[in-house]
């Protein structure tokens, strides 16, 4: 195998992403090349892509290191080692340099099986449990799988992985797309086993899942890991870390989620637009927020009110939130900061914070509402209403309170998926698809602490969804049609979100990663934000039917 040392001359010019100044033509015949990383590896990706290699610029240094390692190893390995490579059926895709190198290196140095956490021991259980599963789903090793469309692992073609078989521990090189399909089948089979109360089978499958998950890359790996952990918790009946109490942590996580991807920003901006339009012409306005958290939604609304025609109204905000773990008055702090902002932009501001364990504990009389001729009220809820579905009568009570408030508009943002069906397996399947899509959309974001925290944020939701039952299970998402039914029977009529909201949402998404992949759709006057064709969150607005 020829190797060539190829030097790039001069630092790549970062201002011109399509520069053609580097000389790549001379090494076009070589199969491998060493590249020296200059001050900014951002353009290397394109240059190698011209030659047909897909290497991420962030991984450039590692690729170079691994090439060196591979070179030394191939020099040292014995004759028969190399001939094994030639005769075994393997599927290589050498253009994915990073993973190809990984696999070549692990071939020479098989690592011990990884252990994700104490639940997922990787060494592979006995054959017996797997054979007990009827059909070819888990156990067949032929290549005649139809690729499952839900496996979102391989965006860049097939990659090679190494896995050890159950008892013989011989090296088998398997197409990783097949592993991806296996992984999904294993997850489904495990959920089915849990549904049928076959806990021993489920246990064996969970271990297998852990093992398969490691062989994947990117979004699929993370999703599988979180789901596997949640399944394990369900099997071993270990309650997840107390999510109810640690609200400061979930607030922080939500802040990171806000920063990383457009979902929350979309939610806030579209809801604000609906509220702004409903408040047109009113001199005194009052917003009741069921999802106060850090108050990130309100600066934008206050700014829009400050600059509206005719000057800003008097703005009153009532924030409702859960009690803080350390007994600090978190809601009060948020109010102070918002007041600071309001003073800076010259908007008269009034604030009140309410601490409540659940929205169902609220009563309209507590809110000190003023007569509707004087004050126009809006109610806002972002990802909060679904938590009420666990308690009987919870949602009905809250909707009753909202009707008593008599708002001019009631904005609701919820996840667009049915995770509240009566059958566990259905919930599991739906949520697997939903969170795979969500994690897929996060893959385009450059790695950072924010991104990791966002994934943890989503992971907690997965854990609650899969591992908990009864009142503990709060992540009971439902689709727009289900919510529309519920609101309709309670006496609400849909208020269509205008084209302004749509335009603003589209612009916002275009700013995120070029808008690649995200899509805004209008559905019966509600706006849905989705990733490729799958809608993920929905903003809807409701008003009271005149008769009620």
């Amino acid at each position: 195998m020829k190797r060539d040392l190829h030097q790039f001359q001069g630092p790549p010019d970062t201002r011109f992403p399509n520069h053609e100044t580097a000389n790549t033509g001379s090494s076009s015949k070589d199969k491998m090349m060493k590249v020296k990383e200059e001050e900014d590896g951002g353009n290397m990706d394109e240059l190698l892509a011209v030659l047909g290699y897909k290497v991420r610029s962030s991984e450039m240094a590692e690729v170079a290191l691994k090439l060196e390692q591979l070179e030394t190893m191939m020099g040292n390995v014995q004759e028969d080692g190399l001939s094994n490579l030639a005769t075994d059926t393997v599927h290589y895709n050498p253009s994915e340099l990073y993973s190809w190198l990984d696999n070549m290196l692990t071939e020479f140095n098989p690592p011990p099986p990884e252990i994700n956490n104490s639940f997922l021991a990787g060494a592979g259980g006995s054959d017996y449990d797997l054979k007990a599963i009827p059909g070819n789903a888990i156990y067949a090793r032929s290549n005649q799988f139809a690729i499952d469309s839900s496996s979102s692992s391989n965006q860049a073609g097939t990659t090679v992985t190494t896995t050890t078989t159950e008892s013989t521990r011989s090296m088998v090189l398997v197409d990783s797309q097949e592993n991806g399909v296996r992984l999904v089948h294993a997850l489904m089979a495990c959920a089915e086993a849990i549904q049928n109360n076959d806990l021993s089978i489920a246990e064996a499958l969970v271990k297998q899942i852990g093992f398969l998950a490691v062989s994947q890359a990117g979004a699929m790996r993370k999703v599988a890991t979180y789901f596997a952990e949640a399944l394990a918790r369900r099997i071993y009946r270990l309650s997840p870390p107390q999510t109810q109490i640690d609200h400061s942590l979930s607030d922080t996580l939500q802040m990171h989620f806000y920063e990383t991807c457009p979902y929350l920003k979309f939610a806030h901006f579209t809801a604000n637009q609906a509220i702004l339009e409903a408040f047109e012409g009113k001199k005194r306005v009052h917003v009741i927020d069921f999802s106060m958290n850090q108050g990130l939604q309100w600066p934008a609304l206050m700014q829009a009110l400050a600059l509206r025609e005719g000057g800003p109204p008097v703005f009153r905000l009532t924030g409702i939130g859960p009690p803080a773990a350390d007994n600090s008055d978190h809601l009060h702090e948020v109010g102070c900061k918002l007041a600071q902002l309001a003073e800076a932009i010259h908007v008269e501001f009034e604030y009140r914070g309410f601490v409540a364990n659940s929205l169902a504990d609220l009563d309209a009389s507590m809110l000190e509402l003023r007569p509707s001729e004087i004050e126009a009220v809006a109610v806002n809820s972002v990802f909060e209403l679904h938590k009420l579905l666990g308690r009987t009568g919870g949602i009905e009570k809250v909707l009753g309170v909202v009707k008593q408030i008599k708002p001019v508009i009631f904005t609701v943002v919820e996840q667009e998926s049915n995770h509240n069906g009566p059958v566990f397996l259905d919930r599991f399947t739906e949520s697997l698809h939903y969170y795979s899509t969500l994690f897929d959309s996060l893959e385009g974001v450059p790695s950072s602490q924010d991104k990791v925290m966002s994934e943890v944020y989503l992971g907690k939701q997965i854990c609650n969804l899969v591992a908990c039952e009864g009142p503990d299970r709060v992540e009971r998402h439902e689709t727009l049609s289900q919510w529309a039914n519920r609101f309709g029977t309670s006496g609400f009529a849909p208020a269509h979100l205008g084209s302004n909201a749509f335009k603003q949402a589209s612009m916002l998404l275009a700013l995120f990663n070029g808008g690649e992949g995200y899509s805004v759709e209008e559905n019966n006057g509600c706006l849905m934000l989705g990733w490729h064709t799958r809608p993920l969150i929905t903003t809807s607005a409701w008003k009271l039917l005149a008769a009620h």
């Binding site: 992403p17 951002g42 990706d45 394109e46 991420r56 806000y258 920063e259 990383t260 457009p262 901006f269 850090q294 108050g295 990130l296 600066p299 934008a300 206050m302 700014q303 829009a304 400050a306 600059l307 000057g311 948020v334 900061k337 918002l338 600071q340 902002l341 800076a344 932009i345 010259h346 385009g444 974001v445 450059p446 924010d450 302004n500 335009k503 603003q504 612009m507 916002l508 275009a510 700013l511 995120f512 990663n513 070029g514």
Partner: protein, 152 residues
């Protein structure tokens, strides 16, 4: 310095004559004129101008120059009430660097109008709020505008 200078002029009969030239005009003495000129520049040129010398750097910090840059393509012109809000949130210069310039860089073909301006202002406001909320740590709500787009 506006010293009188004595210059040499060629006359038609090939004799050279000494003439008094007009007093030297230095733009650095007339900051208001400088501001007027800088107002008409585009973003990159303005930044280059701000690097010329300390004086020009100080003059270029005049917010009205950046206001002009932010609103140049917007029609109709936004009302004056925006000015007080933007100054309270940190000024036009910061608005330009944090929001408008990345916006234009991301979406160069977009027609810059009121809607885009409103969106930028909203994002700017959220950023201000995060600054006062988070305090010490730098807020990252606008990082998505500054981060390089990952073309993978």
């Amino acid at each position: 310095m506006s010293k009188k200078r004595i210059g040499m002029v060629e006359k038609s009969n090939n004799k050279r004559q000494r003439v008094n030239l007009v007093p030297e005009f230095s733009i650095n003495d007339h900051h208001d004129v400088l501001v007027e000129i800088l107002r008409r520049l585009d973003g990159p040129s303005l930044c280059s101008a701000a690097c010329v010398c300390r004086l020009w750097s100080a003059v270029a910090r005049n917010d009205s120059i950046w206001e002009e840059l932010c609103f140049r393509q917007v029609s109709p012109r936004p009302s004056l009430s925006i000015r007080s809000v933007v100054s309270a949130l940190g000024g036009y210069r910061r608005l330009y660097f944090l929001c408008i310039r990345p916006f234009l860089a991301r979406l160069p073909k977009i027609l810059w109008s009121q809607d885009q301006l409103q969106l930028s202002l909203s994002l700017y406001c959220v950023h201000y709020y995060e600054r006062i909320y988070v305090g010490a740590a730098p807020p990252s709500s606008l990082m998505f505008l500054r981060m390089p787009v990952n073309v993978v």
